[in-house]
Amino acid sequence: MTVPARPRVRLATTSLAGCFGCHMSLLDIDEKLLPLLELVEFDRSPLTDIKHCGPCDIGLIEGGVCNAENVHVLREFRANCRVLIALGACAITGGLPAQRNHLDLGLCLQEVYLTEPSLSRGGIPNDPELPLPLDKVHPLHEIVRVDYYIPGCPPSAEAIWQVLTDLIAGRLPQLPERLVRYD
């Protein structure tokens, strides 16, 4: 008798206001990518170039929420992913982009695009295709419910592997002390 193949877990990933460092860390699981590909099937991700997220088991989101498009993408992930994971410092705390949060957004744009000599020629960008920046940068959990968090800048490949394999095996993800890093 043949055992039916176990259906692969559907995984979507995206980077909002992030630097793709967390995605690089995901790739940093190196040779474990091959067993991972036997366990998961990628939906929307920079690795597949699929533009919209379909129904998924796990969504991995890197980066905080800094503009209107980030809000749409985050809500699309939450609506489609059974389990949503905030990946890395920016998704969890706002991170580097949130370092502008104590400044006035208008003054920031003015300083960069009008006052600062090297960029001041074109004025403040106003193309209709550009998503509008939010007044403040937000961590994911301030916009939608988040199920799990993998801290770190970036989280280590080992931490990402630990959480993914725990979830795929049906275990509650547990990070030991040495994998709970904020830097």
């Binding site: 969890i92 705390t93 991170g95 961590p139 301030e142 968090y149 990070l175 709970v180 904020y182 830097d183």
Partner: protein, 236 residues
């Protein structure tokens, strides 16, 4: 009795001091063995005779029943650390104290993966007026260790806390409120004792690489037991 096991104590010791001397860890942040207890961070909260109290300010007595390692107290401590993270601007990836920071080390040890709360992102200044040290008020957790060190050891009274509640903040004892206008020196105990990255020496940034620092090697729960003062003849 701590978590069901007897713990010896000497008169004058607090519950936390007796526990640490007996190689029994209770998480703490504003307590430092060299200074009088402050009781502000509440991380050392335990159930003493059924009441939740700060063990760093509770005198050890015969017959006390203390419960510390319970799931409920672990949750309480985790929440306290989360609130400290959400209240300031603790951006670990760019902080020179990362890996040597006790707030961060408590978070790792307690399994804190998110601040959970809405971050306040307060607008706080940086004081770089001193030639050898700088203060980043974004990272201050109001533990008063620099205040105690400057008062009790350095005898300079350089620091104090002002305001109440959310407006409470660290101030510097100079009409200009600038560290450079005080008698503060880089060799002061107040310089060494900051548990977070609020008071830092200048010109030593990242001399020890991330990954080779104090709490990169061992969790704070193990380090704190190594550091605890013990009566002569008793080893950890």
């Amino acid at each position: 009795m701590l978590d069901g096991a007897p713990v010896p104590f000497e008169p004058g010791q607090t519950v936390l001091q007796a526990a640490l001397a007996a190689d029994r860890y209770i998480p703490h942040l504003c307590y430092h063995p060299e200074f009088r207890p402050h009781g502000s961070c509440k991380l050392c909260t335990a159930s003493v005779g059924g009441r939740l109290v700060a063990t760093c300010t509770t005198p050890a007595e015969a017959g006390l029943v203390v419960d510390s390692e319970t799931p409920q107290l672990r949750d309480v401590r985790r929440t306290l650390v989360q609130m400290l993270f959400a209240e300031g601007n603790h951006f670990c990836p760019s902080c020179e104290k990362s890996g040597n920071c006790q707030l961060q080390a408590q978070g790792s040890d307690l399994g804190v993966t998110t601040a959970g709360f809405r971050h306040l992102y307060p607008d706080r200044p940086i004081d770089a007026s001193h030639p050898d040290a700088w203060i980043d008020f974004n990272r201050c957790v109001l533990c008063e260790l620099c205040v105690r060190a400057s008062d009790e050891v350095d005898g300079k009274h350089v620091f104090a806390l002002a305001g109440r509640g959310l407006t409470k903040h660290l101030i510097v004892n100079a009409p200009s409120n600038r560290l450079g206008d005080t008698t503060f020196a880089a060799s002061d105990e107040a310089m060494q004792v900051c548990p977070v990255g609020a008071i830092l020496p200048k010109r030593v940034g990242f001399a020890v690489p991330i990954g080779s620092r104090r709490y990169d090697q061992r969790p704070v729960s193990a380090q704190a037991l190594d550091d605890a003062p013990r009566p002569a003849g008793r080893s950890p």
